[in-house]
């Protein structure tokens, strides 16, 4: 019985408390998972946008829902009004390590004024 309780506890610790997203509809598709294993473990909590002159600046708040430290990579992808990705090879994957149950903000600036939309891609 004890083992059964332990077995039930481990996935709960790994996945964390999955809650329904409170993000507005336009922000729910901002986070894209390149690794399926990150879904449920790394969550997007908040998306902020601002303009620096004619460039879009963004800051997103992500949370590690697992109890253990999480190593992941992220990159912003920027799109123009026609849906073309701007400088597809320009943004590098940036490595991050986030402690268990903690949050951090990731910031990106559009590569040029033609960017109107962005996505943040994450992978392990």
């Amino acid at each position: 019985m004890k083992y059964l309780a332990l077995l039930l506890l481990v996935p709960a610790l790994l996945a964390g408390c999955a809650t329904t997203s409170d993000l507005p509809p336009e922000d729910q598709a901002v986070m894209r998972y390149d690794s399926v294993s990150l879904e449920g473990r790394l969550a997007l909590l908040e998306v902020n946008r601002a303009e620096s002159g004619d460039l879009i600046r963004t800051q997103v708040l992500v949370q590690n829902r697992s109890a253990f430290a999480l190593s992941y990579q992220y990159k912003f992808r920027w799109y123009d009004r026609n849906g073309f990705e701007i400088a597809p090879d320009g943004e590098p994957w940036q490595p991050r390590r986030l402690a268990g149950r903690s949050e951090e903000r990731l910031q990106g600036v559009a590569p040029n004024p033609s960017a109107v939309r962005f996505e943040i891609w994450v992978r392990e």
């Binding site: 620096s52 002159g53 400088a87 320009g90 590098p92 994957w93 940036q94 590569p111 004024p113």
Partner: protein, 196 residues
């Protein structure tokens, strides 16, 4: 017997050559082969510097209506590694040009430019109507310069490398540093108890 020996040789040759393969990878992928300065560090520094410069309010104001002319001085390599810092500044310059916010002059090609201009004006082979005029180049208003430093610490099992890249933008007329930014990177390599 000879046939069996030949077959064994062929199988061996195929096995050996089968181990070697060449494949293309993602140039923007995170590279962690060693703790030495690598492509991921270069790309992270370039991204961070350009993002910071383009979102700094006085620079946003400055580039609102015009594209200032900048020249890139060298970035001093104060680490113990051999690092091509010009590659870092090349990436930064490329990103800034592609942002449409800045224009650059390149001091590294001055001799070749002079050679070409001399050819156009003095060789007698170029139609004077199409030759470029001397003394019409635009002077840079700002200079980008900086340094890359590192602190390396190691014990029997762990090697810790800390890099700090600093970049400054100076107004050449006033001597004022209008913008400055730093990017710090920490990399640690730990050796497992039984591994190498």
């Amino acid at each position: 017997m000879t046939r069996v020996f030949t077959l064994a040789l062929v199988v061996l040759a195929l096995t050996v050559t089968g181990c070697t393969r060449v494949q293309y990878g993602d140039a923007t992928a995170t590279e962690t082969v060693t703790v030495d300065f690598g492509s991921t560090d270069l790309q992270m520094i370039a991204t961070s510097m350009v993002d910071d410069l383009m979102s700094f309010p006085p620079v946003v104001q400055l580039t609102m209506d015009r594209r200032p002319v900048v020249f890139v001085d060298r970035v001093q390599n104060r680490t113990v590694e051999h690092i091509d810092t010009e590659s870092v500044t090349d990436s930064i310059r490329t990103r800034l040009i592609q942002s449409g916010k800045f224009r650059f002059v390149d001091m590294t090609v001055v001799d070749r430019v002079r050679q070409q201009m001399d050819f156009q004006t003095q060789s007698g082979m170029v139609d004077p109507a199409t030759a470029v005029s001397m003394g019409r180049q635009i002077g840079a208003e700002f200079m980008l310069y900086g340094a890359l430093t590192s602190i390396v610490k190691r014990d029997n099992r762990t090697q810790d490398v800390y890099y700090k890249f600093t970049l400054n933008m100076m107004n050449l007329e006033t001597g004022i540093i209008e913008w400055s930014s730093e990017k710090e990177i920490r990399k640690t390599r730990s050796r497992s108890l039984f591994g190498r």
